[in-house]
Structures are given as C-alpha cells and as structure tokens.
Symmetry: C2
Subunit: 601 residues, 2 copies
C-alpha cells in the first residue's frame, strides 16, 4: 500500500508539476494606444521566476517608448555597445512564450524590442516589430538635373522633419539628428537596389542642401552621377550611432523558437544571436513596410559563436541594409603569453568588444595570424575578463614549443550546424548568406537574389575577424537570381578566406568539403563559383540560365579556382549565353575534374 | 578564575582581533618603470575581503595604462558616464589605506586613478596623481599680429603632436583627437587667468589653423581680440568627451580620509564625491605641474548628496578649469504622480543621470518648481530605478491635497556639514567655493582668489539643478583677493538662488542664516556681498581694501540686497577707494540695519 504513494511522492519531488499559465497582458493594464514600456517591464519582472508562462497580447497595436523603460549597459555583437533601454528584457526565463496574437509592437526612438539572455525554451510568436519612425530616412527623387548635378527629393518620414544649417542637411529623429549617412538607392522598376548602385551614392561631404519645404529638399553635388527621377534613397546614419537598437537579441540562450514574427525596422539587425544554443526561425519575415523601401539598418539575421542548430525555414528577408544571414565565430588576438598557461588576449573587431568569447570547458584552436590555419587545440580552464576588449585566458595546455609568429584563437565548441530551407533572401544590400562555421551546413530549396555575392563562405582575420573555415557545407536545389547586380559582378557561391597582404596561404586549405549542386542560377554574367583555399569542392548539376534584366557587367570566369584541392565540376549546364563561360584555375590547384558540363569551356 | 577567561573570549568574539597588515606592492611584481594596471587590479581583488590592509608603494614613479585595466560602466556625477577603465577600483573595502610613500602615479590616456565605492574607513595618502600627457593642450603665444588677428603659438604637450586638416586644428591625445575646445587663457604676469579673459577666448568655428612645425601652429581669427605675446592658453576638449576620467571618485563611502595627496591633472575633477558620509581632506593639493599652466579639466573638489562632515584643511587648489569646492544636493523633477504614493521622477541634469538620488529611509522634501521653496517633508519607502534618468519613488506619505504646479524633490538626509579651514583656492576658472547644503558650514582662515564670485551660495532648479537653500553658514577671518577679475565684477559673497524667468520668489526666503564677518577683502571694485532671498544675513567687521592689480571694472553696489529679511551690516570698513561704495536694497527687503561702517554710503 505504501509503495505507490512513495512513488508518487518521489515523482513529485523530482519534477514538480509545473502548470503552464497564460497571462493576458490586458489584465495588467497593458492596452493598445498608450506607452506600455513601464507596465511590460514590471510584469516581466514579476514573471521572471515562474516557469511555463505564456505572455499573451490580445491582437492590437501596442506602443513602447524609451522614457520609462529599464536600461542596461549592453554589449551586443556587431552593434554599438551602449546603455540600452529594453522593452522586453527576458533575462533568466525558462519555458516562456511571448504570443502576440498578430499584434504590432510599435517602438519609438532608441529602445530595443526583445532581449533574451540566459534563458531556455523561449518562444516568440505571432507579432510584428515596427517603429513609429524608422532609423533611416528615405528620399524619393522627383526632379533631377544632370547638368547641375542637382536633384529634388521628397523626404520621409516627415514626422520629425529635417533642418538645413548652412548647406548641411540634418535629419531629425525621435531625440537625435543624423547627417546624410551610409545609404543605398533603390530602383522603382525592380524594387531592388540599382544596378551599379554606387554611382548614385550620396556623399555627405560634397552635398549642398537647400530646404524647399517641410518635406522637400534640393541636393546638389550629393552624388557622382545625378540619380533618375523615381530613385528611392535610404540613408541610415553613421557609425557608431546607427547600430544602437537591434530588434531581437539572443545571448547565452538555449532552445529559442521564433515563429510568425515580422520585423519592419530596426536600428541594427532584425535578429542578432550570440552564444545561443539551438535557434529555430520559422516564418520569420524581415521586410519594409508598404510606405517605405528599407527595412532594418543591418542584417536580417546574424549568429556569432552559437552552437547546436541554427535553423531557418519559411523565412522571407528582404529590403534590409545588410546580409540575409551570417553565421560565424570570432578570431581574437593573442597579445602576449603570460606566466604558465595564461594568454593575454584581445578582441579584434570594435563591434565584437564585450563578447563572451569563451567560458571554462570550451575547446579553443590556436591559429596562425599569418596563414589563418589551425595550430593546436586546447581547452579553457579559466577566463579573467579585464575589460570589453581584453581578457586573460588560462588554457589547460599549450604546445611544448610555444608557436612563433602572431597567433589568434577561435572557439571550436561554439560553431553551430546550419539548416536553411525554403527561405527567400533578396533585394537587400550585400549578400544573401555568409557561412563560416565548422558545423554541418545544409542550404536547400531557397531563393536568393542579392546585389553582392549570393553565398559567401569567407572567414577573415583582417577586417571583421569572422572565423572559421567550414568543414561540411551542402548547397542544393536553390534558385539564385541576378546575383551581383550591385557591382556588375558576383558569384552565387564565393568561398575564400580574406587575407591581408602580409597574410599568406598555408600548407592546408582553409575551407573543406563544399558541395554546390542542382541549383538553378538565373544569371546575367554566367558566373557560378569562385573558390580559393578550398579542399573537396563539388559543383554538379547546376543549371545557369541567361537572364536579361541586367547587362552582362564585368566578365569573369564562370568558375575561378585558386589553391583548391579535389574539385569536381560535373554535369553543370550554361544556357543562353552568347559569350564563353570557362573554368580558370591557378597552377596551385590539384585534383580538378571537369566533365559532362554544357556551355562551359 | 573562569570569569576573566570568559571575558576575554567574549571580547574576542565581539571584535575579532584584526591584525593590520602592510602589503608592499614590490612583493607582488608592482615596480616603477612599467605598466602596472593589471597587477594592481589583481592585487586589489585579492585584498578586497581583508580588513585593515595598508597597500604600500615604495617611493617611485608608477605607470598605469588603460589597455589591461578593469572596466565598468560608471555613472559619475558631474562627469560623462561611460565604460571606464579603473586603476584602483576600491569596491567594498573596509579599513584600507593606500600609502604612496611620496610616489607619483602616472596615468596614460583615459583611465580613472582612484575609485572608492561602498567602502568604509579608506585612507589615501602620500602620493601624486599625474598624467603622462594631460587632458588639455596648452598654446604659448610667441607672435601676435592684431592687424590680421593672427598669432603663432608653441603647442604642448608635443608627445602625440597635432594635425591640421583643411584649416582645422586637431589635437592628438593618447588614442583620441580633440578640436580646439573649451578654453581659458592665463596671463604670464599674474599666473592667473587674464583680466577679462573672455576677450581672448579661442573660437573653434572661426579659427583658421596652419601648421608651422611639429610644435608650432599659426591661428587666424581664432579670437575676437589678438592675444598678447606670452599669453598661455589651455584648451580642454568639448562635452561630452572631456569629463571621462576624474582623478578620485568616492561614492557610497563612509569615513574617507585623504592626506598629502597632490593632483596635477584629470580628465574631469580632481575629487568628486557622491553619497559619501564624512570626507576629510588634509593637505590635498590640486595644481599644475611646473611645465604646465592648467591642472584638472574641472573642479578641484565637488560633493553631491553627501552627509556627515565634509572637511577641508590645509589644502591648496589652483589652476584648475573650474571651481575650488562645490557642495550641493540635487533637485529632481516629479514627472507624474502614479498610483498610491508612487512618484515617477526624473533626474534633471544630464551630468547627474545615474545618480543614487535616494534610498529607503531618506527624508525627502517636496519642493515647488516655481518658487524652489519647500512644500512637504516625507520619507522614502522604496525606489525602483528604471533607467539612468528615471525612477519611481514610493514615499511613506503625501499631503492630503496633492500640491498643484510643477514639483521637485530634494534629499534632506544627504546634506553634509562643511568645514573649510586654512585652505588656499586661487588662479582657477570660476569660483572658489559653492555652498548649497542645509548642514552647518564654517569657512575660516582661508585665502580665496577667483575670477568669478568668491563664495557662491546659489541653489538652482533651472540649469545645474543644484539644491538646496542653506540654513547656517559662517564665513569668517578669510582673505579674498581680487575676486571677479575674470569679468571685471564679482562679489566675495554672492548668495542667491538662480531662477528661471517663469520661476518666482515665494513667501519665504530661500537661504537662511548667513554670517560673513571679519574677512579681509583685497578688492579692485569695493564689492562685498550680493544677496537675494536670504533671511538673517550678518555682514560685520569686514575690511575691504583697495587693490591696484586690476582696473575698477564694472561699478556695482558694495552691498546689493533683494528680498532679504533681517540684515545687519555693521562695523565694516572700506579703505582706499576713490569712488563711493554703497548699499543698495530693493523695497522688498525688511529689517535691514546698517551701522558703524566706514567708507560706505
């Protein structure tokens, strides 16, 4: 008789029955039509220690202003660190769902919508993130005079207006002003950035502005070449004040699921994740609102130092001012070997400072800063963070003979697998996807159309310090449309480490095992793949069809190989080109097979 | 037999025998001639939990660089909040002495020398704080041509040099550049700022620079009036980047004693204290090094929201770019009454954001923002800090009828007594002493010579938001020399709240009980006291002697009274003036006695 009772008790003790609970925000004074930052902050503070909560926003338009929002000094990788006001600070939550029921969350000024840190099993679903006025201004060209290199534009949003002091244009925001900043110009005929967009780029230093009305400005010598009427500019401020408010930030999270979330704006990326373990996006949309041409000021999605699986399916990301997805680690510099196994290290890129580069137990690779190749694998025993840039890492062991030359570290533990399926990435500045991870990568059934390279497998220890060399990437059955229209050149796949003049190729290849097969390439230039320092590269069954939207642009080899070993170019087909597509390989390549291709010399 | 033993045991339990311990830094690898930031940080971390330690630096020159120093986001009142690198982070120390044995601690770039927070019984003694290169640049005029409004100057320090781009001068620092910024110019004949110094002020916007050599620059139209040869400029950057590195910061401390400490430089104030209970400075010196004209970029000493006793004795503060001492509280704004006794409040001044304005148990005064007068006293029950600017304060009680009109709060608990004895404050920009505290104040046997007013008893809820009205101030037996030479006018004592146009005098006086007696005034203008909204003002036994260093300047009443009640002007003597010194009082004054004065009409 006693045993069952004890058994139940044991179960109860081992796993207390957690009752999932739905909290309707309306019951807590959180209603559409007024600033709810304070109330949402307070409610989240109450809920923090409760597991299994669904925070439910009945469908509506909710406003979030910064004045009464909680604040924290936040280091957000690839953004500008600062004191940040936070609308949804989800710190230390477990099994928590934010369900917007189709609501729109409208933010005002510099406030960060969603911050998930140190939380497990967080679900974000069914809402749209937008801003009352976005972080950029748009100019629609309504008159243009090439003779005087002058154009007149309608400025939007007009809510805060603009000023011209002297001949300098100041664009007003919620509580700050921007100059003409980084910018890109869209072609109304394609809904994408212009072919050779740079020729129309706005230059702050030469631009002479004249205010014609509250919404109309005349600009002279703002561009190298006067833009056509209808051209649609987006100007989005300057570093280091134009990446202060990302839309969603994940850090030190486990098992995050985001479904049916749309992001219309962001003072940074739509989603930035760092040290996140398993992130799954389903139906994540980044796009511009009907009355705007630009969405977020930076990437749609970006993952630094994550692990587990990064999965994107059924997502559409377009009209953002930077890449569709970027997955990578970080190279940090070894400044000095101290006593014992202590290494004084420094984060290399200014937008990575404050990063949790590693924690005890992580596997590290000591790499050469000359060849960017691995030297010795070790493990983290202790980390003493000195400041945002520097730390002392104690490793379990070092090579008996300490390596000569400049060294870096990469974190081998925090590289994720990546799965991209059924996504659309297009009409943005820059690339569709950047992949630099040692995990398994599958990219299948997506549509890519970007004005730089389509998929960039890079890794660099010179500019962005994005590690690392890939080990297993399969890219198949995707559609690539008009890749590279921004500059008139660009490859669907460009795989190459970026090296400084003083850096050099080493003994081994940097990237390994890349398969690019059965993709459909709608192309103005016939280009397929550029590969450098890749071992085992398969290009098979791809069909490259001539597309007439754009001119041919710069003619480069269809396949360009440099220091590659084990390359199979098999069964690809070039269709409709009236120029020659060919393979170019440097003498340093080995084991290259080219067969059964059509339309390729 | 047992009782004594038990007695000893009881004593031992009640107060464990703490052995004071001297830690010689030399035993921890901390030696002159190399950067020791990392080692000092690490040693302090080790010592943090030990009471009674004296950290001893054998006499020498120790270098502190920022690269490996610990860092924290720091809100420092009257400075620019930022991530700050810290050389001596003394957080949570008890009974700790830093003894420099006459050493010089030399800092490089933006690093904060001494930060004491949440610590009790800290003693700082026997060292000098200096910087390798200070936070300002100095220009010594070697040629000057009024016709073309052009001068040529030697630029120092020359270590990092300067650049001229276009015609704009950029002054190089450790790892940043300044324009010509806020500046003041010293007269080589007096060693003090010029008579009417503003006429020579450098104006960045009009200045045309030409680089003549690595240390020599020519400036045209940089000033309204060409400066004389020998004029010695100090230019110290612009807000918000020129108050990032104060020299000593005390916050939430109890019983701090600073003795025989000299400060030659600072990217901010030499000493800033907030929420400090009992601060005693003995022989604290702020001055410029022999090869420079300017010391710190801001005040010598500054106390916001302190309590207990602020005592300065035997101090000499000179050549700093702002006041000698400033003691005050803060007025914060009541934005909105929320439910119950909750007040949504906002810190008013941008350089007070992040301040710990109050904690539970503190007495608060609700004040009018129109009259700046008290309305109702209450107590803090709870504080919810939302962000650097805003907080929700729950008070124990509110008046039954909630007051109409705009309101502020001041913290009555955190006003200190002040004792200034035997100090010298001179040759600086601005005032000698600003006193706005409800504690007892005695200022005796000091020498003051400042280019604005000598002692300013102000209080304002409009510009700096420095509370509050004084209750008992005695100023006696001091020497005031050439007060006001910066603008040709200035009073040894100027007591008046600063009101906005929309603010007004109320029913009561703002300041109470001010005695100014037996002081010796060496004066070019005969001015003694300007008082507005003061109740019980005694001016007695002061001797004002004509000084010939400067012209008379602007002639103002020797005693100027506005809305004062209970004023005794008795037994003062004006000597050597060839013009009339007189008392001027508005009709709103009452109970004014003027008798037994000499040389006064």
């Amino acid at each position: 008789m006693k045993r069952p009772l004890l058994g139940i008790l044991a179960v109860a003790l081992a796993a207390p029955l957690v009752q999932a609970r739905i909290v309707n925000v309306a019951d807590h004074g959180i209603l559409p039509g007024k600033d709810v930052s304070y109330e949402v902050n307070a409610l989240l503070e109450e809920l923090q220690d409760e597991k299994g909560v669904t925070l439910f926003f009945p469908k509506g338009r909710y406003e979030f202003k910064p004045e009464n929002a909680v604040e924290q000094y936040r280091a957000v990788t690839n953004h500008d660190n600062s004191l940040k006001r936070l609308a949804f600070p989800l710190f230390g939550f477990e099994d928590f769902t934010l369900d917007g029921d189709g609501s729109t969350f409208v933010f005002h000024g510099r406030i960060c919508p969603i911050t998930v840190e140190g939380s497990n099993d967080v679900v974000l679903k069914n809402f749209t993130i937008d801003w009352d006025t976005p972080f950029h201004h748009e100019f629609k060209v309504i008159k243009s005079d090439p003779k005087t290199n002058t154009f007149v534009a309608e400025v939007s949003p007009s809510k805060y207006g603009f000023e011209v002091k002297g001949q300098t244009l100041y664009l007003n925001h919620y509580n700050w002003q921007d100059f003409i900043g980084q910018n890109i110009v869209y072609d109304p005929n394609t809904g994408a950035p212009y072919w050779m967009t740079k020729r129309y780029q706005l230059k702050r230093t030469t631009a002479k502005a004249k205010k014609l009305s509250d919404t109309r400005v005349q600009l002279t010598n703002a561009t190298k070449e006067a833009p056509p009427v209808g051209a649609h500019y987006a100007t989005y401020g300057n570093a280091p004040t134009n990446r202060l408010a990302q839309s969603i930030h994940l850090s030190s999270t486990k098992d995050t699921y985001i479904e049916n979330v749309t992001v219309y704006a962001g003072g940074g990326m739509a989603l930035i994740a760092e040290r996140a373990d398993n992130v799954h996006l389903n139906g994540f949309v980044v796009t511009s609102r009907d009355d705007r041409i630009l969405a977020t000021r930076a990437d749609a999605t970006h993952f630094l130092g994550c692990k587990g699986l990064v999965k994107l399916e059924n997502c559409r990301v377009e009209h953002m001012a930077d890449d569709g997805i970027n997955v990578h680690g970080a190279y940090i510099k070894v400044v000095e070997k101290l006593d014992g196994n202590d290494l004084l290290c420094e984060i290399s890129h200014r937008q990575q400072v404050g990063l949790t580069f590693c924690e005890p137990g992580d596997k590290l690779m000591i790499t050469s800063r000359e060849t960017v190749l691995p030297i010795y694998e070790t493990e983290v025993e202790k980390v003493r963070v000195l400041n945002e840039a520097r730390m002392v890492i104690t490793v379990t062991d070092l090579p008996k003979k300490y390596p000569k030359g400049p060294l870096s570290l990469e974190n081998l533990t925090w590289y994720p697998d990546v799965e991209l399926r059924n996504n659309i990435m297009r009409d943005n500045r820059a690339r569709s996807a950047l992949i630099s991870t040692k995990g398994d990568v599958i990219i299948e059934n997506n549509v890519f159309s970007s004005q730089m390279h389509g998929i960039l497998i890079e890794g660099d220890n010179k500019a962005w310090y994005e590690s690392g060399g890939v080990r297993n990437v399969v890219i198949k059955n995707n559609v690539f449309e008009n890749i590279g229209y921004g500059s008139g050149q660009g490859y669907p796949l460009y795989a190459s480490p970026m090296l400084l003049p003083e850096q050099r190729l080493g003994d081994d290849q940097y990237h390994w095992n890349v398969t690019f097969s059965n993709n459909e390439i709608k192309s103005f230039n016939g280009q397929l793949v550029h590969a450098k320092s890749v071992k085992n590269l398969v290009l098979s069954g791809n069909k490259i069809v001539k597309e007439e939207t754009y001119p041919v642009g710069e003619q480069l080899p269809a396949v360009d190989l440099d220091y590659c070993d084990g390359v199979k170019i098999v069964g690809n087909e070039w269709v409709g080109f009236d120029f020659e597509n060919h393979v170019e390989q440097k003498d340093n390549c080995s084991n290259v097979t080219v067969k059964k291709n059509k339309g390729l010399k």
